[in-house]
Symmetry: C2
Subunit: 210 residues, 2 copies
């Protein structure tokens, strides 16, 4: 990485941390410059505006989300194992972010009634993630792990609710057991949609390594 790219990456890193604490709207070029011990014009040399910096922070956040949550889950077999991995890693990530604040959740409150490029970026990212969940659920139906009448969008609505409830109950209400409840909720929900026990022949592909 060239020197300029390194500095840019370090600025985004500092801004990401500040945005976790104060929200994306709390982010200013001045605060980031202070944190970096740079001049404001030094930061402006890398980002033309505060909005450019906010969008760079969102893109970096999404990049890490994809790396930490989505990509490792794709190593799991299609169907329930992959869906479980995606949800499990999502919850893991939320539990880590409880102290720093989750940008997807805090961003929702900041931008839900504020149209513009940042809101569009945020919505686009969440839509991508919801689409990945829908894809994993459809695969779980195809391979016979979930019932054929499973409504993927309904399942995503409920999973999103579990994640929001963890955030709300932990950060605001200081309930200690939310992560456990979110995992229990998933098992229960999957129990509702799980396809009836299959014949050994249908099960065979899952046991191919035995």
């Amino acid at each position: 990485m060239r020197k300029g790219e390194q500095t840019r990456a370090a600025i985004v890193e500092a801004a990401l941390e500040l945005a976790g604490r104060d929200g994306l709207e709390g982010l200013t070029i001045g605060l980031v410059a202070d944190r970096m011990r740079m001049s404001k014009s030094g930061v402006f040399a890398h980002f033309g505006s505060r909005e450019d910096l906010q969008i760079a922070v969102l893109k970096e956040y999404e990049k890490r989300f994809v790396e930490d949550v989505l990509l490792p889950s794709l190593n799991e077999g299609r169907g329930l194992p992959r869906l479980e991995a995606m949800y499990g890693r999502w919850i893991d990530r939320i539990s880590v972010e409880i102290s720093s604040g989750c940008i997807y959740v805090s961003g929702a409150a900041e931008y839900d009634d504020r149209p513009g490029p940042i809101r569009d970026e945020l919505v686009g990212m969440i839509r991508s993630w919801q689409a990945e969940l829908v894809r994993a659920i459809k695969q779980a139906i195809e391979v016979g792990h979930l019932r054929a009448d499973t409504d993927p969008a309904q399942l995503v609505f409920v999973l999103q609710g579990f994640v929001l409830s963890v955030h709300f109950n932990t950060r605001l209400m200081h309930n200690k057991d939310s992560v456990t409840r979110a995992r229990a909720g998933f098992s229960q929900l999957i129990g509702v949609y799980r396809a009836p026990a299959q014949s050994p022949i249908r099960l065979a592909p899952r046991n191919r390594n035995l």
Copy 2:
């Protein structure tokens, strides 16, 4: 109501509307004075500080929530009918507030990491509501509508998630079907916990008007 009380109530009304739009943190004595066509000192005569006004807004919000959601539901019979009414009216209220913003949800994002009297007030209110839900669920177990092994706190965690997911998916994601999904989620969830079909004798009290 005396003149002073009328003015105070009108100020709270205006402040409640502003807080729905801009959040409780967006509320200032100046904005409220503008809206009321009063002087700032006129508003200060009724509320010693901005914080006093914010707390008065929260108390008024809770009063209306209790009047609109809780009290009418208590007319329903103990057990599932009452729980269904509480949840149904909660969702009704959220759908109305989608455009103006729900103070409980936006307040969560504003105050989750900001200790102080406003946060304490907000948490106290939500805790009361969650306790009412737990009470209704316990009654539904007692009267035999829900299974004896139902965990009331788990159920409340999931219901809270449905409400947060409606808010998130409607306000941020502009999904149109969230309210329908929240109602479908409730039916499905209750299906999981519903006690096995009872003997006609146990069912009799529910059919007493037939």
